[in-house]
Symmetry: none
Subunit: 271 residues, 2 copies
DNA sequence: AATATTAAATCATTAATTTGATTTTTTCAA
DNA sequence: TTGAAAAAATCAAATTAATGATTTAATATT
């Protein structure tokens, strides 16, 4: 059936809960169950949702109005595709490291593409990239200036490579650089599948003040065909979790930054 | 499960339709069906929804961008719709001039974008362009190597300009070049709206063995703000019709080529 | 007017979301 | 600690929304 004016059963119920809350300052779960004839589970879910929207504060057995009327929107959500979710979290983390006025470097890759998407609504930043799809993603963003390295496009991967690309990269300076990679391990360091992409990545790295490798945990202790650089070339790493004690040791010993999106494990905490 | 930051299938499809529209000014229903692998019914429903949101205007067989916001003329849309067919014809004619092994240059613009689309299934050619959307269009084409000039992207027009772009263009050679323009007349010659685009166009022209200006008849005897080059710099012109006797005279006298997509009028035949 | 094309309307099917029942884990108060 | 209450997690049923196939009406084009 068509939703009348966009008011679904659930929305009506949650609106009712808010009315109750405004009337009495707080509500209990049993109260909601009785009043709206729903299960305990839905009552909880409604309160969770309202809390996520920043309207109320959960308490034991119910909820109360948020007295601090600062409407802070906290909307971090769960999704089906775990790896996608993790990449989005990694991208968000990386994007949060970007500040006004920054010159941000992005290589090609899924995670870096998501960083670009996250940067879309930043203001007064410049993004330097060799990925055509990243440039397209940022094309309608007013606050972001996009500089694309030229070069020959690798069909299907959207990456610009070759001497022409290199000649441009040699003429620019990058502030914070985020590099998408295919493998990371202590010994060869950071690696990738494609020789051409490795070369341009290496060059961009050399032009950047600070370079961070961004990757999900499946890339850890994996070695791809072509080496980009040893770990020591990097300012730090952005990933969801890093459970390898050896790598944690290495990162700590070399005073490199580690940005994690998931709650730290015992091993990680120890460092 | 909840999807709130996650983009639903339908939303993604409609966003894709908007991107298509921004790139090409219009879309057809079959185009949507092919591109997004959906039924005719959903394609229609999507367009209806987007129209309801005020973003686009439905036309017979598809939709086009709402241009009434920028130009208040009522009949403008019909004109534009007609022009589309002519631009496609012009693009097809230009594409037919391309041969195996050619190095083809394309500036930004609607007509040149359509040339790129027409070149998609050519084999063993190289396309050099400063337009990001043209590179994207050719990204999945096996027989076409794409070389993108780097540079700063002009947001919304997808064109790469500036010194970086120029430094790359200075290092390449173009065989047949097709230039999109905003105005053409005997006296200042070929002109365009944007200074930056004029400059990069001028440079590409200087690097090309043969350069053709491509335009529809509404550009004839129009003069835009920035001059690119006098007519004599061009090997020839590709358009739908050219009814100006003075320009016909001029073209004949200078032994330049004229490629028309519409049956020649008496005036044109006389030359 | 006749034909072909496009649009609208309808309905069955599929996909997605919401919900309630159940089980497991966590938290709180003694 | 331990038991009771609350919260979270899990799963299947129910509801709702989205889609595609089909039919019917409208519209361009000749």
């Amino acid at each position: 059936m068509m939703s009348d004016q966009g008011i679904s059963k659930g929305e009506r119920r949650r609106a009712g809960i808010m009315t109750l809350l405004k009337q009495q300052g707080k509500v209990s779960i049993p109260e909601i169950i009785e009043r709206f004839e729903c299960s305990e589970a839905t009552a909880r879910r409604d309160l969770d949702l309202l809390e996520k929207q920043g309207n109320i504060i959960r308490t034991l057995g119910g909820a109360q109005l948020d007295t601090t009327l600062t409407s802070g929107e906290t909307s971090f959500n769960e999704k089906r595709n775990l790896l996608w979710l993790e990449k989005e979290a990694i991208a968000a983390k990386a994007a949060s490291m970007v500040e006004k006025g920054d010159i941000v470097g992005l290589t090609g890759g899924t995670t870096t593409f998501l960083i670009a998407r996250a940067l879309k609504f930043h203001n007064d930043i410049t993004v330097v990239t060799n990925a055509v799809n990243i440039a397209m993603e940022l094309a309608d963003s007013d606050g972001v200036q996009v500089v694309l390295t030229g070069g020959v496009m690798r069909n299907k991967s959207f990456e610009l490579c070759g001497p022409l690309a290199e000649s441009i990269v040699n003429n620019i300076h990058i502030g914070k650089m985020f590099m998408g990679i295919d493998g990371i391990s202590i010994d060869p360091g950071v690696t990738t599948f494609s020789e051409l992409e490795a070369q341009i990545a290496r060059l961009m790295l050399s032009r950047a003040s600070q370079c961070y490798a961004v990757f999900d945990h499946t890339k850890i202790d994996k070695i791809s065909l072509f080496a980009i650089a040893p770990l020591t070339e990097f300012k730090g790493f952005v990933t969801n979790r890093l459970e390898s004690p050896a790598m944690l040791d290495y990162i700590e010993k070399h005073r490199m930054e580690l940005h994690l999106t998931e709650p730290a494990t015992e091993a990680e905490k120890a460092h």
